[in-house]
């Protein structure tokens, strides 16, 4: 355990050091991460205004609150591991990771965490800026804030495990970009990014409940904003726990099968 903590510490240190080498890339990423929710925010507040001030229980200021918190949550749970894996397999750098006496997922989690460390101050500043412009309707309760922290940690873990499993597709096909695109669209729709899920038609909501994506973004956002009943909160945590278990199992099996294929087909 101590050795693993040490590994994470070193991985995060080197991750931060590497990332700070590319300030321009960092800024471009951040602009993208702020712009996307900003676009939805503008679209939905416009829709809300034109339909008499409210859509699906969200008023203009509620949308502002929703998308500002969503930006923070998305930032905290986001991964790019699919693109990374594609590169590793194509360039053959993956062999070096396989030679290490430690599961490569640790390095990926740590590197991801280091990007959060680097980006956090900027994202918080961006959120504060957006809040100043859009006057969101925040109604945080102590209970919601307290429950939000574990929900966010679980959301990160679930999203990471799911993304990592999807990323393993790179072992099987050289056309990973198409799979990543489908995955990205699914996340966009069913996580609550394109619209709060309660705004979507009922059938889509049912699908969203079954898939993991809602529990990795929409759930913590709605939780913090105090939009969920106690029962909904408990359901959310149960779903996160179930997906955490399923994700861990998925990673284990998919990893074993993928490595077997990798070592059969040739590195």
């Amino acid at each position: 355990m101590k050795a693993l903590a040490e590994l994470y510490l070193q991985e995060i240190k080197t991750g931060v050091a590497s990332m700070l080498q590319y300030r321009a890339t960092l800024v471009i990423w951040l602009i993208g991460n702020v712009l996307e929710p900003l676009i939805y925010l503008v679209v939905w507040t416009t829709v809300a205004r034109s339909t008499g001030g409210s859509v699906g229980g969200y008023g203009v200021l509620d949308f502002a609150a929703y998308y500002i918190v969503l930006m923070l949550v998305n930032q905290a749970t986001f991964t790019w591991v699919m693109y990374e894996f594609d590169y590793r397999i194509r360039e053959g750098t993956f062999s070096a990771d396989l030679l290490h006496p430690v599961h490569p997922i640790h390095a990926d989690i740590a590197t991801n965490l280091s990007s959060k460390v680097v980006n956090l101050p900027f994202v918080v500043a961006a959120a504060a800026g957006l809040a100043a412009v859009f006057h969101p309707a925040f109604r945080f309760t102590p209970l919601a804030v307290a429950a939000f922290v574990p929900a966010l940690v679980l959301a990160f873990l679930v999203r990471f495990l799911v993304d990592w499993t999807v990323a393993l597709a790179a072992f099987w096909t050289t056309r990973v970009t198409a799979i990543n695109q489908i995955h990205y669209m699914a996340v966009l729709f069913f996580s609550g990014q394109i619209a709060p899920l309660t705004v979507l038609p009922r059938p889509l909501q049912v699908v969203a409940n079954v898939l993991p994506f809602r529990w990795t973004v929409g759930f913590p956002v709605e939780l913090l904003l105090g939009r969920l009943t106690r029962a909904q909160i408990l359901t959310g945590f149960a779903a996160q726990a179930a997906w955490l278990l399923a994700g861990a199992l998925l990673v284990r099996v998919a990893w074993r099968v993928s490595v077997r294929r990798y070592s059969a087909v040739g590195a």
Binding site: T14, S18, G92, V102, V265, G266, A267
Partner: protein, 327 residues
């Protein structure tokens, strides 16, 4: 003394299945429906042992199966058939205890993190391999001294020259003091001085740590300097396994005689095959068995200033070995 081999291969094979298709649009469309698969036998029944502490040159032309073999030995590839054990482990199971005791250095791949100083990559390897702090300090100091890394440690890896980077790569790969070292073209692309330095280092590392080393290189100077024993493979099959001197003996039917005369007038063609003739200096190739007789004749019949008898250069021998294997 422990006499069990450190590395043991028995009839090791690796077959790849590859998709083939003819060029052209019609074939492209056909391949959508039906893919023709063919098998490539990259490693085709190799058997050898390496004793503890042995250093062996692993030779063969491009595509002979060297890298495939090294990847099987280090656990990256699963053999199609045959037996394989390294330090008593089955490599492809990638047991953590096994991975902590081996290393694979590929001259054409880098493992260091590109954007940060090598020292940071070293620290990361310390955590990955769980090297105790005292051991780490000692090994690092040793590697820094042997490879003269001090001025390089704090520069981002991308700012290092190829040779400097290779030295850092090798250091990173050896921080955990592996007992078995696989080196795949460690000196590729380096200048002669840097090649020599790395060579000296490998010999010194092996001497100090008693490591077992399997080395591939296209530079015969590496092999001559480091390895008494060589293993030659071609088309995935073992062509030769024995002392380098015996390889030269076995595959050279000729000797080279270099004669320096007062002038170039004499017709040297009568003594053997003239390879070159310049400023009275003639290089002849003669069958090994005739060497003594021809040398005697030249000395008796011509105004010789100087005469030397040589084995052909090792590169030429290897070229001949590969050519023979291809036939």
């Amino acid at each position: 003394m422990d006499t069990a081999p450190t590395i043991r291969l028995r009839d090791l094979r690796k077959t790849y299945r590859v998709t083939e298709r003819e060029p052209g649009l019609r074939a492209a469309l056909a391949s959508l429906v039906h893919r023709r698969k063919s098998e490539v036998r990259a490693v085709d029944g190799i058997t050898f042992d390496l004793a503890p502490g042995e250093i062996v040159g692993f030779l063969g032309p491009n595509g002979a199966g060297k890298t495939t073999t090294l990847k099987m030995l280090s656990g990256l590839l699963h053999p199609t058939s045959g037996e394989l054990s390294v330090l008593g482990y089955v490599p492809w199971k990638r047991d953590r205890a096994f991975l902590r005791r081996i290393t694979l250095v590929m001259g054409q791949r880098n493992q260091l993190i590109w954007d940060i100083p090598a020292a940071d990559s070293f620290e990361l390897n310390r955590a990955i391999y769980r090297i105790p702090p005292a051991d780490y300090r000692r090994t690092l100091d040793e590697l820094v001294a042997l490879l003269e890394l001090e001025p390089l440690l704090r520069k981002p890896v991308r700012n290092l020259s190829l040779g400097e980077r290779m030295k850092c790569e090798i250091a990173a790969a050896l921080l955990h003091s592996p007992a078995v070292v696989f080196l795949d073209e460690p000196t590729i692309g380096l200048d002669v001085t840097m090649q020599r330095r790395i060579r000296t280092f490998i010999a010194e590392y092996r001497r100090r740590h008693g490591a077992t080393v399997l080395l591939t290189s296209h530079y015969m100077a590496d092999v001559e300097a480091l390895c008494k024993r060589v293993i030659v493979i071609h088309h995935g099959q073992l062509l030769f396994d024995g002392e380098l001197a015996a390889l030269v003996q076995k595959f050279t039917a000729d000797k080279t005689i270099v004669v320096q005369l007062k002038d170039c007038a004499a017709d040297m063609g009568a003594y053997g095959e003239v390879l070159s003739c310049q400023d009275g200096r003639t290089t002849l190739r003669v069958p090994k068995a005739d060497t003594a007789r021809v040398t005697g004749r030249i000395l008796a019949e011509l105004p010789v200033v100087d005469l030397t008898v040589e084995d052909p250069p090792i590169e030429e021998v290897i070229e001949r070995v590969f050519a023979q294997g291809a036939a």
